[in-house]
Structure formats: structure tokens, C-alpha cells
């Protein structure tokens, strides 16, 4: 399994660069992943990232965009403004949780 180093922490990742062990994440790691993706994180970004993490920890699945919008108060249009080009995947990547998947 490949690994990458963010903020001095070596983390295992899958072929697409998603963390495969969410417990190795910390906020500095998240910050470094965001920089690599060309994102400058604001408090609004963090609201979404923090929710994705706590929800994943509780339910074992990465939340969908509607669920994130409903639970953070950040609207759908704003989610796309904050994470243009695929917010579902980008938030998952920065938050160190799996990308949204189907059963197949």
C-alpha cells in the first residue's frame, strides 16, 4: 500500500490518494492535503471537514452533500463555491475519509 507524508506524518493512502486509515489524520495533515489540492481553508471549509469526520466516525460512511448541508448550515451552492470541481471527493480527501461510493 502506498504512503504519503503530510505535515511530517506518514499516512497510508489508496491509489487515488485517499487516506485508508482515518485515525492517522490530524488538522495539520488536513491542511497539508488541502494545500496540495490548491485549496485555501477558511472556517466555512472547516465546518464541512469537521462534520465529515465526526459523521464518518459515528456512522461508518462518508456523508453525502445534502447531509453535510443540512448539518452544517452551509448551503449547496456555497459548498460548490468552497470546493469547486467535485466537493464530495475533495471534502473526503481533505478530511481523510473514504470517497463517496456505491455498493458496486
Amino acid at each position: 500500500m502506498p504512503t504519503k507524508t503530510y505535515a511530517g506524518v506518514e499516512v497510508p493512502v489508496d491509489d487515488e490518494g485517499y487516506l485508508t486509515d482515518s485515525s492517522r489524520w490530524n488538522r495539520e495533515v488536513g491542511q497539508a492535503i488541502a494545500e496540495e489540492l490548491g485549496l485555501e481553508l477558511t472556517d466555512e471549509h472547516w465546518k464541512l471537514i469537521d462534520f465529515a469526520r465526526s459523521d464518518y466516525a459515528e456512522r461508518g460512511q462518508t456523508p453525502g452533500l445534502r447531509r453535510m448541508a443540512a448539518n452544517t448550515g452551509v448551503g449547496m451552492k456555497d459548498i460548490y463555491r468552497l470546493f469547486p470541481k467535485g466537493p464530495g471527493k475533495l471534502i473526503a480527501k481533505v478530511a481523510g475519509v473514504p470517497k463517496p461510493k456505491s455498493c458496486i
Binding site: 461508518g60 467535485g86 464530495g88 470517497k99 455498493c103 458496486i104
Partner: protein
């Protein structure tokens, strides 16, 4: 006299009611609530648009689906008072219960997408997850002479997540047989980043879209549908034109879940993933599509969950704690057209793997097309009415087995389980 109340008599609720009637003593009433007179065999909706079933073939009088001794209340649930252990109805006296099972499935919510039910709805914009939608689509397909057919999954979760792909594979066969395939463009617009998102499935099945000439549009989150102009728009401002739109609308849980403020943002019920106990209704379990669990919303899952819930209801009736028996097991046939299908078998931990799935009728092929799988899928229609709903045993265990499955290199740390 004690009461077990079961809300919803679809796949999961009917199995639970019938099995519990046999297993609980005469000191228990088993009351199942459902307002609709008929039970619909939903897997048949996939074939209906292509003229392979008549609507009547998919319906049975609900009264004939219950074992004797099960009481059916033909009412619509409008609320649950968890503290008072009472179910409320649109009309009539509330029902007090000792144990409760919520099995109210999903509601299709085209109303949650702007424009979806506007101009063109059921004229050139169709769903096939309802009997009305599938029937209207059948008429439209029979006169479709060419153009761009877009299948759009608005958002997840949806029930039977493979049905949209199956629809496209069957459409490829259907238009080929009608001699118009070269004039029809088939497009799959999905909010996910691929048609197959699990590594083994992607590896084994990637060829299918190419073979069936299905054009893939990924990460498409529909914000708006304009039926009159014939296009879909996404939140990132892409536009997909269509001559015929087949939509899988947003799914939500039942309205009473929302009204009683028991569900999540889409009214799915917070459920313990292994015991299937409700996280917020005392004395209640949840079965089938109504849960918020990270496994497929499918009839097979409702069936396996129903078995676990029955065991746990018996424990609860004795005042004992429920057992964490459910593993997320799902078992789904995927039609690929031209008389073939493949089989998926997976759970919370194990992605769909290739290999063989043994049964008394011979092995089905996992992640691989075969004719036997197709016959398995069709035979399931008979089994559904005659074995599954009455609660008779079927030769598929509630818990997933690794027997016959080929493990990928990286997950072979536990070979003793593979041989079990």
C-alpha cells in the same frame, strides 16, 4: 395480552410479521400496519418498461401475503410516540405496543429537485421505481425512434443501486432488437465519480459500459431539470440535453418519521448497524430501506435484517439484550441483457468479490455474467411470493460467507476464514 406492531408490510415487514406469528406465543398479538391493498414485487419494475411483465403480474392482494393469526390494520401511520409506546394513525384509535418494528421503506421524492415534476413529467421525464412511472415509461419507450436517453441518479442513497445500470443494459438489448439502437444514445449521469466504485467490481466489470455503448457522465449533482427545453443542469453548471429522461429521484424515509422528528435529514432512522435496534425509539427495531445503515437498500438486505430482527425480538420479549448479529450482508443479481446476469455478494467489511456462490441449484457466478444467474433472478419472483414472504427458509444465510470467493492479494491475512 402483549402487542408486536410492525409498521409497513413490504418485503421486510411481511417477513417479520409472518415469522413472529410462528415464533411468539398466544399471549402476543402480531399487528402489521399498511394502508395499501396490494403488495408490489418491486424487482419486476426493472423489466416492466421493456414489456417483459404486465403490471398485474407484479401485484398480489396484501391480505393473501399474511399467515393466519397476523392482524392487518389498513391504516396510514402518521406518528410514533416513543415514550408512550404508541403509534398514531390518520384516522382511528392509536395502537399501543410492547415491541415495535419500523419497516416503512422509502418514499420517492421527485418534488425535491427543481423542475423535475414540471413540464414534461411522465411525457418525456419518467421514473421506473414506481408502478405508474414504469408503466408510463413502457409506453414512451415503445414509440421512441431515436435520440438521447439520459438516465440520471439524482442523489444517493437509492434502493437497489445497481438497477439504473441494469436498466441501461436492458435498454441496449431492447433498442437493438427493435432495430433502432444506432439512433439511440444511452447516457448514464451519476453523482459518483465512476459507474463501478469498488476496486474488484471496477476491475471485473469495467468492460460493460463500453460493450453496451453507454456514455458515462460522472460527478453530476443535479440542481435542476427543464423538461420543456429538455436538459438537466448540475450544481457546477454543466448541462446535459435529453430527448427522454429516466430519473431515479431522491429517496427519503416515511413522512411520519419526519413528522415525529425521529430521522436524519432524509428521514432515515438511526439504527444500530449490528443489532438493528432503533437508536432513538425505545423497544423498537428497524428493517429494510427505512434504516440509515451503510449497506444497500435491497430486498435481500431487508430479508437478512428481518431474520436478525426476529431473533432479537424474541430476546427482547424475554427481557434480554439483543445480539449484534447483522453484518451488512447483501446479495443482488445484476441483469446485463441478452439473457445474462451477474451476482454480487458483500457485507459491511467485504467488497463484492469474484468467484462462485454455491447453491443447491448449482453455483452462481460472482462478478461474472452467466445464464444461470439470469434464471436465478427470474426464479426469484416465484420464491418471493412462495418462500420469502411467508417466512420459509431460503438457501442463503443471513450472514455473508467467504466460501467460493476469490480474495484479492491484500486481504488474505485471514486464510482460515476463507476456507471456513
Amino acid at each position: 395480552m402483549k402487542t408486536l406492531a410492525v409498521l409497513g408490510a413490504g418485503t421486510g415487514g411481511t417477513i417479520v410479521a409472518n415469522r413472529m406469528r410462528k415464533r411468539l406465543g398466544k399471549d402476543w398479538r402480531v399487528v402489521v400496519v399498511d394502508p395499501r391493498d396490494q403488495h408490489l414485487y418491486q424487482p419486476g419494475l426493472l423489466f416492466l418498461p421493456f414489456g417483459r411483465y404486465e403490471p398485474e403480474e407484479l401485484l398480489r392482494a396484501r391480505k393473501d401475503t399474511f399467515r393466519s393469526g397476523v392482524e392487518w390494520l389498513r391504516s396510514e401511520v402518521v406518528g410514533i410516540d416513543g415514550e408512550a409506546r404508541r403509534v398514531e394513525f390518520a384516522e382511528g384509535e392509536p395502537l399501543s405496543y410492547d415491541l415495535l418494528v419500523v419497516a416503512s421503506g422509502v418514499r420517492l421524492r421527485p418534488d425535491l429537485t427543481e423542475g423535475l415534476t414540471g413540464p414534461g413529467w411522465r411525457e418525456k421525464v419518467f421514473d421506473f421505481y414506481s408502478l405508474e412511472g414504469a408503466s408510463a415509461l413502457r409506453a414512451a419507450l415503445s414509440t421512441f425512434e431515436g435520440g438521447r436517453l439520459v438516465l440520471n441518479v439524482v442523489e444517493n442513497p437509492i434502493k437497489c443501486p445497481v438497477a439504473p445500470l441494469e436498466f441501461l443494459f436492458l435498454a441496449d438489448e431492447y433498442f437493438t432488437r427493435r432495430g433502432v439502437r444506432d439512433r439511440v444514445e444511452l447516457v448514464y449521469a451519476t453523482p459518483l465519480d465512476a459507474a463501478f466504485t469498488k476496486p474488484q467490481a471496477a476491475k471485473k466489470l469495467g468492460y460493460l459500459l463500453e460493450e453496451k455503448k453507454v456514455h458515462l457522465v460522472t460527478e453530476f449533482m443535479t440542481s435542476e431539470v427543464d423538461g420543456a427545453a429538455g436538459h438537466l443542469r448540475s450544481y457546477d453548471e454543466r448541462e446535459e440535453p435529453f430527448d427522454l429522461l429516466v430519473t431515479i429521484p431522491t429517496h427519503s424515509g416515511a413522512a411520519f418519521v419526519e413528522r415525529s422528528q425521529l430521522g436524519d435529514e432524509l428521514a432515515f432512522l438511526p439504527t444500530d448497524p449490528h443489532t438493528l435496534r432503533s437508536k432513538n425509539i425505545p423497544g423498537a427495531f428497524v428493517v429494510g430501506d427505512a434504516t440509515d445503515l451503510p449497506t444497500s437498500k435491497a430486498g435481500s438486505v431487508a430479508h437478512f435484517e428481518a431474520e436478525v430482527v426476529c431473533d432479537n425480538l424474541l430476546l427482547a420479549a424475554k427481557g434480554e439484550e439483543p445480539e449484534p448479529l447483522f453484518d451488512g450482508h447483501a446479495n443482488c443479481f445484476v441483469e446485463t441483457g441478452w439473457g445474462k446476469a451477474l451476482l454480487l455478494d458483500f457485507n459491511y467489511e467485504t467488497e463484492p468479490l469474484p468467484g462462485r456462490f454455491p447453491t443447491p441449484w448449482g453455483p452462481f457466478t460472482l462478478l461474472e455474467e452467466s445464464r444461470r444467474n439470469h434464471w436465478g433472478k427470474l426464479a426469484f419472483h416465484w420464491l418471493y411470493w412462495n418462500a420469502l414472504l411467508p417466512g420459509r427458509p431460503l438457501p442463503v444465510e443471513a450472514r455473508m460467507s467467504l466460501t467460493g470467493k476469490e480474495l484479492p492479494q491484500e486481504t488474505t491475512e485471514q486464510p482460515e476464514r476463507a476456507e471456513a
